[in-house]
């Protein structure tokens, strides 16, 4: 009896669920060419693929990290056409022909970028998960200050910018570090900027 009613109930499921089948999203594939760390890469991607997923899942450049995947944490920060961006909040297909630098292109173990060396020297990380994003952002922040781009804490919008602790802290607010290495990151950036730590 029990078995029979269970079978009947199962058989009734498709009609009870209605005529509409569960629609399965059909991926749309598009070709895209990116120049990543100086190397041209040709890919065929689902249009939904973020620049971060293109790097990590398709190019196996796993240095850039997926933290929140919503632009809130900065772990995915890359430098695209000379600007730091959240690679999780942009589609790879929107970057046809673009020059992209990931942490792997900033420096390598045998050839560290000064910012990477300074993070090691000043203990600018603990678990290391946010570090690739912190370093990409840190390199770009010093370039932004040099280029004269003001920030929220810039007192005089028309004066020459200085690399102060307040400027670094404000400009790095899009990079979260849950280990709390912030003060050491500020020291590392200050040293790379050529100012006394």
């Amino acid at each position: 009896m029990v078995g029979a009613s269970a079978t009947a109930a199962l058989a009734a499921v498709p009609s009870a669920a209605g005529a509409a089948p569960v629609s399965i999203d059909k991926p749309v594939l598009t070709k895209v060419s990116l120049t990543v760390n100086g190397q041209r890469r040709d890919l065929e991607l689902d249009t939904r693929t973020s620049l971060l997923d293109a790097a990590r899942e398709h190019l196996h450049l796993t240095g850039s990290k997926k933290g929140c995947d919503h632009g809130q944490c900065g772990a995915c920060t890359m430098i695209v056409e000379g600007r730091r961006i959240n690679s999780c909040l942009t589609l790879a297909v929107m970057h046809q022909g673009a020059e992209i630098t990931t942490i792997e292109g900033i420096g390598q173990p045998e050839n560290l970028h000064p910012m990477q060396a300074a993070f090691i020297k000043h203990d600018g990380y603990q678990c290391g998960y946010c570090t690739p994003g912190q370093i990409c952002s840190g390199v770009a922040v010093l370039a932004e200050i040099k280029a004269g781009i003001p920030s929220h804490v810039t007192a005089d919008l028309n004066a020459t910018l200085q690399v102060t602790e307040a400027e670094i802290r404000e400009r790095m607010s899009g990079n979260i570090c849950r280990c709390g290495a912030y003060s050491n990151i500020v020291e590392a950036m200050t040293e790379v900027a050529g100012r006394p730590v």
């Binding site: 749309v28 600007r83 730091r84 909040l89 003001p150 919008l157 802290r169 899009g174």
Partner: protein, 316 residues
């Protein structure tokens, strides 16, 4: 994220036509808000029209002595433009008070105007939200509302416009230039660009379907001292609880607009005449008719005190 088709047209009217003819199509520029919402399936476009190939990325002087800011000028570039820093500092300040460096590098002038609310009930798909799903109700009215609107809301919605840039543009009486699928263009004054929710909270602006923003024009400079003061839960990278954009003249007259308090940048011109009498005189008038919840009534006092701080900053 739902799958979608993608195209990248090369002229503004082509882009407008592409969105007008394709069902459930959307423009994408910086994408920092749209992709966030697509990941959460709050936005589910079936087709994206990438406008990044359209140019529209320069800042040019206008014959009237103002500036015409292309729709695709990035927030970083608008804030850093020497003319904006000198003559429209309130706009630079507002932009720099918003988002993070990474987001400002991607976010565009037009996209910033079109960003959706950050009301927590809009973001939580398990909750009722008339803006996300018309007719479903509003969980915010009796919910956690400390961040939400105190004026201009309705029984259907108390969401706020989350941006800073738009508050400065409203203060400056900027105009939004658009083009539609037929190639005809129009100018929408910032005062009329964002709408109040009423019984159609799902509609944020007065743009028509498929209408594309091409530029924002700023009238000739106002002079005076420019201040943008933003109060938020942390020192950086957070939305405003209350913000004040103000341009104040040496004789104490000026303009003031408020962010974080309504579905649109909140500016009451009739209240600005009271600026020489101090902040309270202005906010009493500007917020007459406010309907705060018990959780966000503090914003009325905060608006007064933030304006007071802005006036002090301008005098210093």
């Amino acid at each position: 994220m739902k799958s979608f088709t993608y195209e990248r047209p090369s002229s503004p009217s082509e882009a407008a036509a592409a969105v007008a003819r394709t069902p459930n199509a959307k423009f994408i520029a910086g994408g920092t808000n749209l992709l966030d919402l697509m990941k959460l399936q709050i936005e589910t476009p079936a087709h994206l029209v990438d406008v990044n190939g359209l140019g529209l990325d320069t800042i040019e002087p206008t014959p009237e002595g103002g500036l015409r800011v292309g729709a695709l000028v990035r927030n970083t570039d608008l804030a850093a433009d020497a003319r904006v820093r000198k003559d429209y500092a309130v706009l630079s300040r507002a932009l720099l008070a918003g988002a993070s460096g990474q987001l400002r590098n991607k976010a565009t002038t037009a996209g910033n105007l079109l960003q959706r609310t950050r009301c927590p009930y809009f973001y939580d798909t398990a909750q009722a939200c008339n803006k996300r799903q018309p007719g479903s109700g509003c969980s915010a009215l009796d919910g956690v509302s400390r961040q939400l609107a105190v004026i201009g809301g309705s029984e259907a919605c108390i969401a706020t416009h989350p941006g800073d840039m738009a508050v400065a543009m409203r203060l400056l009486d900027a105009n939004v230039e658009t083009v539609d699928a037929k190639g005809s263009s129009r100018k929408i004054p910032m005062a009329e660009f964002h709408r109040l929710p009423g019984d159609r909270p799902e509609i944020d602006t007065t743009l028509k379907a498929g209408e594309l923003i091409t530029a924002v024009t700023l009238p000739k400079p106002l002079g005076g001292t420019h201040v943008y003061r933003k109060v938020r839960d942390r020192a950086s990278y957070a939305y405003a609880l209350v913000s004040v954009a103000a341009v104040l003249q040496p004789d104490g007259t000026g303009r003031a607009a408020f962010g974080g308090v309504s579905h649109k940048p909140w500016r009451v011109e009739a209240a600005e005449g009271d600026l020489p009498r101090g902040a309270k005189a202005v906010t009493d008038k500007a917020f007459a008719g406010a309907k705060p919840t018990h959780q966000n009534a503090y914003k009325l006092k905060l608006a007064e005190r933030t304006l007071m701080a802005a006036i002090h900053e301008a005098r210093a």
